[in-house]
């Protein structure tokens, strides 16, 4: 009895530590993704990118940037709503980070394997928009206000196709638990056979969700000067904008990798010896690269064009996708 209890306790402490570790790894992960983005962008633009910080190909550039942000003066304009203004970085960061609670890194490497994991992930991913909207309002800046409103409008337009595309996956897998969804893709990912359309819709909607080109109107620097974050500086800027954006990007990629590429599940039965987390990281990394690649290639759309694209193209398409999925399910074709 005692030993069992001891066993359980020890196990759960290890597990807890592991699970907390996942969350603690998020910040370094943003640094890595930030660095990769700098380098990939540079090479796509026929440049070298950072080469000095940390000596070897500038590996410590984002770390140095972070340290620089810490040293900077935190400026708040006189007319800002100070409380709301200061809360924003926490809201955006939290909203982005909460997704990871349900994302499985391996069969058991998940902080909480909720039965409604997918539902939860989609719900919390829209929290950060509240932060952006609050930032736009609290900054007392017209550009920020426009940025905040654009972010809110974008959220409403994109939440639907995002949810509908995910709903088709849930139908396909017959579960809302992300672990079950991943398991259902042993060994053929949904993106390859049942849900290619859903995958594309989800990617487009996720890009809009994390405000990256071509859907980066809420932070368009040439139009509204980083939108809601015009007035932010120092650590608030680093966390509220950069860290939140990268965490959200990693989170969305991880979610897409789980939903459509099978997450930690190996691609071939013969490759089962490669551990789950490695598969998960490879798949997520590929999607992150795709997002970076798209960002440095395309110009951005206009807000009204994005709305039209969402309502007139993506939503009808995702409804069709659901219909087809349902029909195939009924026909027991799958």
């Amino acid at each position: 009895m005692v030993t069992t209890l001891h066993h359980i306790l020890a196990n759960s402490i290890v597990l807890l530590a592991l699970k907390l570790g996942i969350l603690l790894l998020l910040l370094p992960a943003t640094l890595v993704v930030g660095y990769v983005e700098l380098k990939v962008m540079a090479h796509m633009q026929h440049r070298l990118g950072p080469m000095y910080a940390g000596a070897y190909h500038g590996w410590a550039q984002t770390l140095a940037d972070g340290l620089k942000f810490i040293q900077k003066e935190d400026i708040m304009a006189a007319a800002t709503d100070r409380t709301v203004f200061s809360m924003v970085p926490y809201i955006t960061m939290l909203g982005a980070a909460l997704t990871f609670v349900v994302i499985p890194f391996s069969r058991h490497g998940v902080i909480a394997n909720l039965d409604i994991g997918l539902f939860y992930a989609l719900a919390v991913s829209s929290i950060s928009v509240i932060g952006v909207l609050a930032a736009g309002w609290a900054s007392a800046n017209k550009y920020s206000l426009m940025g905040g409103l654009r972010a809110a409008a974008q959220l409403i337009a994109y939440e639907l196709p995002l949810v509908l595309a995910a709903a088709a996956v849930a139908m396909q897998a017959g579960s809302l638990s992300l672990v079950s969804i991943a398991e259902a893709q042993r060994y053929v990912p949904f993106a390859l056979w049942a849900q290619p359309l859903g995958f594309l819709i989800f990617l487009a909607a996720a890009t809009a969700e994390v405000s990256r080109t071509p859907f980066d109107m809420p932070v368009a620097e040439a139009e509204i000067i980083t939108g809601a974050f015009t007035e932010y500086s120092a650590m608030k800027f680093a966390f509220g904008l950069f860290a939140a954006e990268y965490i959200a990007m990693i989170g969305m990629s991880a979610l897409a990798a789980t939903l459509f590429l099978g997450g930690y599940v190996p691609l071939l039965p013969q490759l089962r010896f490669v551990p789950g987390p490695v598969w998960f990281l490879i798949k997520t990394g590929l999607l992150i690269f795709l997002l970076i690649w798209i960002r440095w290639t395309f110009p951005r759309l206009r807000e009204d064009q994005l709305q039209k694209f969402a309502w007139k193209v993506l939503i009808p398409l995702s409804l069709v996708n659901i219909f087809v999925t349902g029909a195939l399910k009924l026909a027991h074709w799958t």
Binding site: M146, I224, R302
Partner: protein, 383 residues
């Protein structure tokens, strides 16, 4: 995905918004704003994201060139004029020298004329590359600007080899050029334009062929030709409206009538057309440079010029096709070695004066597309 309403110049009736009370907001774009490259300020009243009124405010960079030149001789003036439109120094200098030469009836050697054409066209390419890149940047595509600077660098290097400067050349002198070109210039210039021509398809595919780019530019900021003429709009912007006004063709100066080149014309005068004309003009400039390099005659780089330039009494208007449009100098001389008055008619000034009409009714993001495709240099507006 749809396009914006047909007539952008029509002011939407905003008083009746179905009971929903909306309020206009005055947005101060600039003088420090990433999309106004320089210190142009645009005061816009917006209703949501739609612009109700827009008024460009200029003068943040007024340096009083017209006053300064009244106290300077022509060598010093050349160096001043180079700084007006800082992207096209050589082109700024040429018409000033032409004015002096025509007043004094100076003979300019053919080699000097050819070299002037080569330098002017290389300079036009560097100018156009700058705007090719920055337009993409303003629409959110950050990569083309890097490619544009890569191509620009080689041509810039050729210009530096000859003039010793990268922006302010001060190289055109009444009667010819300051010096002859060094050995190696011909090869470098040729390499520069060939690399450019080889890379233009990249810009076309990255921007003009891109569906998002088309969404943002086709039908946006359409300029009515009659309005354009009324405001003295010139250069690629006027030609994008389909008006074949290119001073190199209409009133040929230097030796432009000896080369074969086309004047690309747009059809509708929207942002897309303006950008398209800009890119095509680089190809035409490259053609001119190749022809001029092939036919570069031997000879002197400067004609017989009196040591002290004293102009006869009189007035003359001299204009040339600057990369951004018509650059004209109205020179009034009272018989001294300095101009009594020099009116500088710059392309950007006239081109941007029409912006207020074009911005009315557009969306805020369209404002960026419109301003970005109006190709102006603030130093050229303010002088």
């Amino acid at each position: 995905m749809g396009t914006v309403p047909e007539d952008l110049t029509r002011v939407p009736d905003l008083s009746s918004t179905g009971g929903l009370h909306t309020e206009e907001m005055v947005l101060n774009v600039g003088p420090q704003h990433p999309a106004t490259h320089g210190v142009l300020r645009v005061l816009v009243s917006v209703d949501g994201e739609r612009i109700v009124r827009a008024e460009p405010v200029i003068g943040y960079m007024h340096r009083g060139h017209e006053k300064l030149v009244e106290q300077r001789d022509f060598r010093q003036i050349t160096n001043l004029l180079s700084r007006m439109d800082w992207l096209s120094g050589i082109n700024n200098e040429i018409p000033a020298s032409l004015a002096v030469e025509r007043m004094l009836e100076l003979e300019v050697p053919r080699r000097a004329q050819y070299l002037r054409v080569i330098l002017a066209e290389l300079n036009r390419i560097t100018n156009h590359l700058m705007f090719t890149g920055s337009f993409g940047l303003e629409l959110g595509a950050t990569t083309p600007v890097m490619y544009a600077f890569r191509e620009r660098e080689l041509i810039q290097e050729a210009l530096e080899l000859v003039t010793g400067g990268r922006m302010h050349f001060g190289f055109i002198r009444p009667g010819g050029l300051k010096e002859d070109v060094p050995r190696g210039f011909v090869e470098l210039a040729r390499r520069g334009v060939r690399q450019l021509v080889a890379k233009i398809p990249d810009y076309e595919n990255l921007l003009m062929g891109n569906e998002i780019f088309k969404q943002r530019t086709v039908g946006v900021g359409r300029l009515d030709p009659a309005l354009a003429l009324d405001h003295g709009v010139s250069g690629p912007i006027l030609r994008a409206c389909g008006i074949p006004y290119d001073i190199r063709k209409v009133d040929p100066y230097l030796v432009y009538d000896e080369f074969e080149f086309d004047t690309p014309l747009g059809a509708q005068g929207d942002s897309f057309d303006r950008f398209w004309v800009l890119v095509q003009e680089m190809k035409e400039s490259a053609r001119i440079v190749e022809q001029a390099l092939d036919g570069l005659p031997e000879g002197s780089h400067i004609g017989a010029v009196p040591k002290r330039l004293t102009l006869p009494k009189g007035q003359i208007y001299c204009h040339a096709e600057n990369p951004l449009g018509e650059l004209g100098y109205y020179l009034v001389s009272d018989g001294g070695n300095k101009p009594y008055r020099l009116k500088i008619r710059t392309p950007s000034f006239s081109n941007i004066s029409v912006a207020a009409h074009m911005l009315r009714g557009a969306f805020v993001p369209d404002m960026i597309a419109i301003l970005g495709s109006m190709f102006f240099v603030v130093g050229d507006i303010d002088r």
